[in-house]
């Protein structure tokens, strides 16, 4: 007759040792927090022109650059909007509908103000590739009115997937 082992103190219960998983999860979080470069609110969805071979890709994003965006309204693709950094300008709004030149004067003034604060003259022009040129031309007029002599057009070197 087999003796039952009364003194077998080790009870095998199913237990997951979570310590290693927590280490890995923390490492992942730290990795994402270090590599992410947050762009405050001006990251509008813009399909910039692609397959531009001469586009120069800088190593790091210049935080002092002023971004001027010309993009399609996500709710209505026929409606074109402008933005100077995070500030939006709507040509169809009550304020600008009756007086279109005021829109570009306001944009030029905003650019001048930001330029004085940041003491930078670097402008990034991000325009959707499918937009008609005359919309971008108006943004260029605003830049010219703000006294900006040089602008960088945002483009992708490779084909956008």
């Amino acid at each position: 007759m087999k003796r039952l082992s009364v003194f077998n103190q080790t009870e095998h219960s199913g237990q997951f040792n979570m310590t290693s998983m927590i280490d890995i999860v923390f490492l992942l979080i730290i990795f994402f927090m270090l590599i992410c470069q947050f762009i405050v609110q001006e990251n509008y969805t813009v399909d910039v022109p692609d397959e531009i071979t001469q586009a120069y890709t800088p190593d790091a994003i210049n935080a002092n650059a002023i971004t001027l965006s010309v993009y399609r309204n996500p709710d209505n693709e026929d409606h074109i909007l402008y933005a100077v950094k995070a500030k939006r300008y709507d040509p169809q709004s009550k304020q600008y509908r009756n007086s279109p030149p005021t829109l570009f004067l306001d944009m030029a003034q905003e650019i001048k103000t930001i330029r004085q604060k940041k003491q930078t003259g670097l402008i990034h022009l991000r325009a959707d590739k499918s937009i008609a040129y005359h919309y971008v031309h108006k943004a260029m007029i605003a830049l010219s009115q703000a006294g900006i002599p040089s602008v960088q057009i945002a483009a992708l070197k490779n084909k956008q997937q």
Partner: protein
Amino acid sequence: MSILTKIKKCRAKKKSKSVALQIRMISMIDVVFLLLIYFLLTSNFRAKEGYLPISLPEENQQTTTTRMVEPLDVTVTSITDGQCEITLGEGDIIFIDNDFGKLINALKEIVTTHGRNASDPIKLKPAPQSQWHHVVQTYDALWESNMTNIIFSISQ
């Protein structure tokens, strides 16, 4: 060893066991996963963009420079998606269908046949309804041909 002595030994072992500190990790794992999910959902990744420099005329520029060389007018007109027409100067019309290599070849020909230099000014005049993509690709083709003295005509 008798059964009784064995039992006594086990009880002694139990008594002498020090109480181990246990930290309950379950709540922390919940919080960590919530943080991860939050960052995954809110992060909006964008492809790293490159830049093409352009120069604009300044407003109220009263000085007029007399140029020895007339700027070459390059007109861009979009026809359909992917197709556009580029007019070089007064005559040469190039039809582009997603391949701007033709433009580069035509520009090289102009440099050799018309006696122009790569540093001579070029005036880029896109049609108002032309696609921005075609305008930038034309600009890119000009840069690739080392023609970097490009002016965008600004008119209100």
